[in-house]
């Protein structure tokens, strides 16, 4: 894991002092709410329906056990005893008092955490594959460049007042677990024909009311030149992105309006003029950062591990959990554990202070004190010995986190929705809870197989419904909560936008509708065919028929 040096600590402390001063000036009336608003947003502080909400960055989804303990402490002391892990690998607290935020921030800074740029029209917390560094077949650990991007984008003098928010994601393996094509900039680490490491660069992806998959602007960008290329993209966007209409201000609209070819021409022209201006990271600095992400000292373990294999045979529930929540680790004898924060009937992504502390303890005992946050709103223990998996599973069971549903129908992404959010049109959480309860039977879930349901409570799409195999969008229809259903979206390397299947459903009807879609899939699937594969093979017609009857 990256560890702050004196410079990083200085920046963190100065940020806390600056925000303390800004809060004081707001309370004294020296700053108007209009002036204060962008400042607090760039510190992650939102004013929601009932209280302030604070979003804390988990840079590229990596947390230490000590940081997790601090997050638990924050939940207990400053909030109501729980926090909510988000689709951007962050954590949110929903019941925050403005005057306490500076002290809270100061506490966070002691463990190298912050709320910097988790909101506002700036470069947001960079996200990365939650299996970074531990998955086989990775060209390079994407957290190295993510940390470089974190530093470069922190309080950038030129790009802190962009037309709109700006999200960057990085993935380092062939399989894309970071949804890079859905980001303003997506970086896919690749090798060119000569074996050099660089990036395929995607620009202009985004969800919201106009879902757009990113345009590949470069098949290969040499690694050393990344930051100057990012600056060229951001400069074109900062100068020419629309500022007159919040709904047309994302870079995806600029790419669309200029046309991809003209956009690329402008970026390349800007880059040619500025690529040698000293923006790129010195090679020594890249080496310094990379050192923090070198693999830990794993034990040499002979495989198969007999105790683990025996436990799987002896305990069906354990074997079921292994089949969904445990991924192969690149090191023999180790495993990657997904801790599902999706208990049946629970709130997706929520964790209590006690649960966070228990996860921190498990990480210390079994995962080299490291934890990841995934954009699917789950946690990950990245370095677990196979021999310890049974103990980890049992311990997780004690805190309600042994749900064997990672990647299954009840592993639902949902935004906070109308229960918390001032932008929402409809509630998301209760819909997620009712779907989860409907499919509570674990054998049935495993029979259905890999399936991603994603729920957003408004068109802003924080629940990523466009990228859901089954997407649900809450809308307000004459004062009633109503839900539209989309099918066929995906966020991985085969990214696609879900298509609206037909008229929407009432709050009561949406769960039945989801069940009908799944029943239709079970009827038509071929052996070993996942939902998304089946949908891509047969198209929407059979699902429409099941939902709305035969069209005449």
């Amino acid at each position: 894991m990256y560890i702050y040096d004196d410079f990083d600590h200085t920046i963190a402390k100065q940020r806390v002092a600056e925000f303390r001063d800004q809060v004081n000036r707001r309370i004294k009336g020296e700053l108007t709410e209009e002036q204060f608003r962008p400042l607090r947003l760039m510190n992650g502080l939102y004013l929601q329906l009932h209280a302030y909400m604070l979003r804390i960055a988990v840079p590229y989804g990596t947390l230490s056990a000590a940081q997790m303990r601090k997050l638990a402490h924050i939940a207990r002391v400053y909030d109501r005893g729980y926090g909510h892990f988000t689709t951007r690998q962050n954590i949110q607290y929903n019941w925050i008092k403005l005057e306490q935020v500076p002290d809270l921030m100061a506490e966070l800074a002691t463990v190298q955490l912050h709320g910097n740029q988790t909101s506002g029209n700036c470069v947001r917390n960079v996200t990365a594959d939650h299996f970074s560094g531990v998955i086989d077949g990775e060209i390079e650990d994407p957290r190295i460049v993510s940390e470089a991007i974190r530093q470069w984008s922190t309080f950038h003098p030129e790009f802190s007042w962009l037309p709109r928010k700006f999200k960057i994601a990085v993935t380092g393996a062939e399989k894309d677990r970071a949804a890079v094509q859905w980001h303003d900039i997506g970086l896919h680490i690749v090798r060119d024909d000569a074996g050099e490491v660089g990036y395929a660069v995607y620009v202009g992806g985004g969800m919201g009311r106009i879902p757009v998959l990113a345009t590949k602007v470069r098949g290969f960008l040499p690694k050393r030149e990344l930051l100057s290329y990012l600056e060229a993209i951001l400069r074109v966007y900062n100068r020419y992105g629309r500022r007159d209409n919040i709904h047309k201000a994302r870079i995806k609209i600029l790419v669309r309006d200029l046309g991809p070819e003209e956009f690329i021409r402008q970026v390349e022209e800007e880059w040619e003029a500025s690529r040698h201006s000293g923006v790129n990271l010195p090679p020594e600095e890249e080496i310094r950062i990379a050192r923090y992400f070198e693999p830990p000292a794993y034990e040499k373990i002979a495989v198969p591990v007999a105790a683990f294999e025996d436990a799987k045979k002896a305990n069906r529930a354990f074997a079921q959990w292994i089949s969904t929540n445990v991924h192969p680790h690149k090191t023999p004898g180790y495993a990657i554990v997904t801790i599902s924060l999706k208990p049946i009937g629970g709130i997706p992504g929520d964790a209590s202070a006690e649960q966070m502390e228990a996860v921190a303890s498990l990480a210390e005992r079994f995962s080299l004190a490291e934890i990841r946050v995934s954009h699917i709103q789950n946690l990950v223990l990245p370095h677990v010995r196979q021999a310890d998996l049974f103990a980890v599973w049992q311990e997780l069971g004690k805190i309600g986190f042994a749900n064997a549903n990672a990647g299954l129908v009840t592993d639902i992404i949902a935004c906070p929705g109308l229960d918390y959010c001032s932008l929402a049109n409809a509630r998301s959480i209760p819909v997620a809870q009712r779907i989860s309860e409907r499919f509570a039977d674990l054998d049935r879930q495993h029979k259905i197989g890999a399936l991603q349901i994603k729920i957003s409570g408004c068109i802003n799409a924080c629940g990523h419904h466009h990228a859901g195999h089954i997407g649900i969008l809450g809308v307000d229809k004459a004062g009633q909560e109503f839900y539209q259903l989309t099918l066929g979206g995906a966020g991985d390397e085969t990214a696609s936008t879900g298509q609206l299947i037909g008229p929407g459903f009432s709050s009561d009807g949406i769960v039945d509708a989801v069940e009908k879609v799944i029943d239709a899939y079970l009827d038509l699937r071929q052996p070993n065919e996942t939902f998304i594969s089946a949908y891509r093979r047969v198209g929407p017609a059979p699902f429409k028929e099941k939902l709305y009857g035969v069209s005449r």
């Binding site: 920046i11 020296e30 962008p38 470069w152 030129e158 037309p163 900062n238 500022r243 010195p282 600095e285």
Partner: protein
Amino acid sequence: MASPVNQVGSNRVLDRNGPITDGWERLADDETVKPGAAVLVSFQRLKNEHNALFAEAAAVGVEVGGDVNLDELEPFLPRLGLIVVRFAFMRDGRPFSVGRLLRERFHYTRDLRAVGDFIPDQILFLLRCGFNSFEAGPDFSVDALKHGVAAYTVWYQRGVERNVTIAERRLGKENLGQESA
């Protein structure tokens, strides 16, 4: 009537340390130039009347917006004593890019000023993008300005002021950035 910039609408001009006196007069497009005056004009007027302006005035400055076409401005740069970039609204981020480009790509070296609804908390970023003076309303807090300018002592990025970046300091190259102002 032409009026000193630092009195227009009770605005005043500041640098990073606080208010400064300033001899520039902002001219409406139909106001005549007082011979020997330092005049600030619109870009349109500069384009239309540059010969007369440069002949009559002691110094000429221009006010542009964040959407300025810098290639159009470039021919005038060697003779301009002041460029004012207007924030259309507080969150207008374009002036930051305009400042950096004027300094780094077009090598403009004289007075570069921001005007508009920016707040003291943005000044440090403006300084790092090459601005050196600021025209602000009467409510603009000088205390907050001084506080904001001193808020950070180190940064990850190289600004126009050629600050040494953190990466350079880590390499022990503290003097790297300071030679070329």
